[in-house]
Symmetry: C3
Subunit: 271 residues, 3 copies
């Protein structure tokens, strides 16, 4: 495999970027732990009184609208503007876009007000953000979008439109900067049986992008590979035991991820 | 055992109901994961701007007042009214009722404003909601209520009064619709050593009721059996190892729960 | 070792103190579970409408400013005043003090308005609270503070100034009441790879202090020993497996902690 992915993992471990999150209270603990497991440093702070200050000392910002409310939306905007001013990458996870007017308007506001580095979502969320029709089932992709969503084309066009990297999570993850498309084939269906695996992907993207702000496309792809490979390893070690053991094994695998494992296990191609 | 319990589990797995939660931030991750583990789909959304909208696309609503505040109380009422309008079951978990005026008033408000499908709590909480004297120790049942709380009679009368199913969790779980009483004898004391096992019961009830809205009594009983059996299995597999392993084993057991295990392990009788 | 530590653990298990937390949503589940694992009883309640009422029925109060906001700051003050009035110990964890003006002002406000029993933080946080220069990296201690922070002297002087016990977490934990200094040498570097291990220390301190409000120095030291020993045991049992297994093993070890383990494993000296 290309040495670039291995080098990016090394960079995270060496630079230990501080990743500011404004995220949901459902999966925030998993996000903090996965950020530590990959070698970065998480800080969660959503008060309007400090959101901009915390982004100003961070190397990346992750905005995740899983359990948004009026108070945190204002903080997301303030943090995003601070991140833009400082020039650190902003990763946006439009959880549940399409499921309510409030989420839809918030997603639109964030895209309008903040220069994003990466957007990551499932096909329903990304189709909604791209202004295409979509259906969601709460915070999960709908079956019709999964069947006909055309992730590659959607990602590429949205990336061009917004001038950022777009990641569509799925059985195959699609990563595009508007020019290239990287398809990451790692992963395991059992990841869908745990809450927060999407949110954790966004935290990993924040970690890699914080360590390598000039390589957002490859940083995002390496994050997705890491999670996919970790899912495969977790299934091998603990999948038969059930969800609780699988979850611990997933965190194990991210914390033990190294260049050799990436080289051996990564399955991807550039389209 | 009656085939109805086995069929209800099958229905959850087949229908994958979307269960809207407005719940506390202490155990929300466990609630989301247990909902996924039993085969349903969780969505957590507590902003007043979207609470009603999200309930309108769900198959059940769970209101849990573990860490309530003025903002989320308003959202609970809005979500509850939306759920009532749509006709989906509302499960209410009056965490800590009796422990503060704020909790007491909120419980009363929810009961007044919303047509509930199921109320689940420990004996202290249920006695408080029923207007009987009760003592609580924070969010746990008091020893005096445990000794003399008379769960069966209390559950039956409260069920009649409110026209809903009442579940009293304890060493033996009591489930009544005001006519029948089902006593579920599964469980293990170690469940009391983990936070959130009560909340997870309410999420399981939401999952079963969302899949079978016309069978709230049996749906609630199956949820309690599932948790009780999972506790027994988790103790067998990991109880000696300590709380962390027991917790993972509990999630394992719910994710692997099947009709055969229910049939073999369920201990209950109708009174 | 001195019998006092063993007796304090016994007291927690016998008295099962109710520990009211106003804490962050990142690690709150770990805090609740570790409080249960050591034998105490957690209650989390942060609404201004009930904060004072809940403290009034508790045996200890833990204030943790990990994800503070204007709403919860007001509740912390109300709960703290209620705890002071009742005479129960207040444990303050100034997470991220030094990282933003909002955190700095909140820490100053809490210290001004509330009579604290124990303050616990890393060297950067404690140096900031003590009015010494400090640098933080988000919520982690900076390398310069770790190298030259002089934990013993800082803890002792701050303890004298505020009339409370001060705990500085680190490779060696420093506990001082302004007269004595206890150095606890238990622990393992892997604890730094999990989120919430500091917060859990504060919850354990709350548990021990709630059980022994007249022995805050030794109660705090026993809490730190318990966490340190648990970290060592968790590393031995699961460290090689990765972060997820280490985390479960840490909770296992706290739940299985007993006098014999304390006696055998504790490494500390009074300075």
């Amino acid at each position: 495999m290309s040495q670039i992915y291995v080098d990016l993992l090394k960079k995270v471990r060496e630079n230990k970027p501080l990743v500011h999150h404004i995220t949901n209270y459902v999966t925030v603990n998993d996000c903090a732990n996965i950020t530590l497991a990959i070698g970065a440093s998480p800080v969660m702070a959503d008060a309007i009184e400090e959101a901009a200050d915390i982004s100003a000392i961070a190397q990346a910002l992750v905005l995740n609208m899983g359990t948004l409310n009026a108070r945190t939306v204002a903080s997301m905007i303030a943090a995003g503007k601070s991140a833009n001013k400082k020039g650190i990458p902003v990763v946006f996870d439009p959880v549940g876009a399409g499921a309510s007017s409030f989420r839809n308007e918030t997603a639109a506001l964030i895209i309008k007000e903040i220069k994003l580095g990466v957007i990551r979502g499932n096909i329903s969320e990304i189709r909604f953000v791209a202004g295409l029709g979509s259906q969601t089932k709460g915070v999960d992709a709908s079956e019709s979008d999964l069947a006909g969503g055309n992730a590659g084309q959607t990602a590429k066009e949205l990336a061009q439109k917004l001038g950022c990297v777009v990641v569509v999570s799925g059985a195959v993850d699609t990563v595009s900067d508007g020019t290239k498309i990287i398809l990451v084939e790692n992963g395991h269906p059992m990841l869908g049986n745990l809450t927060g695996t999407g949110c954790m992907c966004s935290s990993l993207i924040g970690s890699f992008c914080g360590a390598a702000p000039d390589e957002l496309l490859y940083a995002s792809a390496t994050a997705m590979m890491s999670m996919g490979i970790a899912g495969e390893l977790a299934y091998t070690h603990a999948g038969q035991k059930g969800n609780g053991s699988f979850r611990a094994a997933l965190h194990n695998a991210i914390s033990l991820m190294d260049g050799q494992t990436l080289e051996k296990k990564a399955k991807f191609h550039e389209a």
